[in-house]
Amino acid sequence: MTEPLHTPLHALHVELGARMAPFAGYSMPIQYRSGIIREHTHTRTGAGLFDVSHMGQLRLAGAGAAAALETLTPADVVGLPDGRQRYALLTNDAGGVRDDFMVARLGEHLLVVVNAACKQDDVEHLYAHIGERCSIEVLDDRALLALQGPAAARVLARLAPETAALGFMQVARMSLAGSECVVSRSGYTGEDGFEISVPADRAESLARDLLGYDEVEPVGLGARDSLRLEAGLCLYGQDLDTSTTPVEAGLTWTVAKSRRAIGARAGGYPGAGVIDRELAAGAARRRVALLPRSRVPLRGGAALHGPDGAIAGQVTSGGFGPTLGAPVAMGYVETGLARAGTMLSAAVRGKTLPVEVAKLPVVPHGYVRGTTG
């Protein structure tokens, strides 16, 4: 087994008392001294600083980059305005999801952020299919920090007042504490916040500056997972994979109108036929939020049973939601049982436990909508 890679913040994590564990080939902080529940709650009430440098940052350049990327995703990339970011999916020929990613347009470039575990595959996929139509650069000399929570905007405005003008899913190049950064107002917690791409050799100093503010505490991947679970956001490899389609996952909004059957740039991406058929006819199963009605957390892989006792679906992610103060999960169920309020059951260690289907997300998002752009 190869040694896990270190992010540019590794020494800082160790200094802060993080419990490090291998994740997608990197040694990552799972939690710091205060623990997952406090870190989670702090992100919902103050501001949490996350190291997400394990994620892949790519730059696509060239006049044909957006059109080229559209051959691999049902998103509207060609129509993405300068300074805006979108959540998008890489699909396969069966309409399944190869990865989910963020794409932003900054002037002549597209900036793409992909999952750590998919990074290598994605880069090969892009080179193989669109490598001749645009230049693809892996930005492995940059770290990625996320500052998330209701106090994030207040804190970041002290370093760069122009961050206050960014609306949700807007992105801009700016100088933060003397470093040239790309800042987007987005995240993976359901809270207002920012993701900051910073040169690797400036990452630790920026992180220390941010941690110097009273509102900011370091938060590990453990709380990142419980935050995104409450916020109803998918984790690739658990809630999304090559066997789930955007329609099943409730991510039809990632299939742009212009890319649908009668749109201006209809189809032309892997699995378009399957996805168009499902958009028209619906899918046989749907991703839903699940609220276990006992104190026992449900974990990914647990089978779900309908009122008649027959298998009705499966949990794909589950754990404890510190903001809810109760277990929370998500999974896929037959469309007929996907309505909020439907009572299902799950078998855990030989006991049958009640689970209620709920609307996603179970904790409301705190995003700040932009007034411009």
Binding site: I30, Q31, G35, I36, I37, H40, G222, D225, S226, R295, V296, P297, R299, G319, F320, P322, P327, R349
Partner: protein
Amino acid sequence: MTELRYTDDHEWLRHEDDGTVTIGITEYAQEQLGDIVFVELPETGARVAEGDEACVIESVKSAADIRMPLSGEVVAVNEELADTPETVNADPLGAGWFIRIRPDAPYEPEALLDRTAYDELIGTL
């Protein structure tokens, strides 16, 4: 009541004056598990066998089984943990105890780790 003994599975055992044995998890174990959100214990009166995974601890991230260090009858369980599982994090060697067992065989502290041996074990992990 005697001094605590330990297993290499990070449980502690205490031999009570009435011959029963109280079982819980160590400070090290609770710290490794992180925030505990649910503890599943056997029923009072149940029989457990050495090696049985008779208790389950759910932390925010994952579930862990607790293997029984000896065989016997469960004579008491810590009912408090149903509503306040976080007690295990706060006071693992005291109020966060799990179950009390009347062992089938005489209690043999020599077969278990003493504090020095246990500290050596976790020091090397």
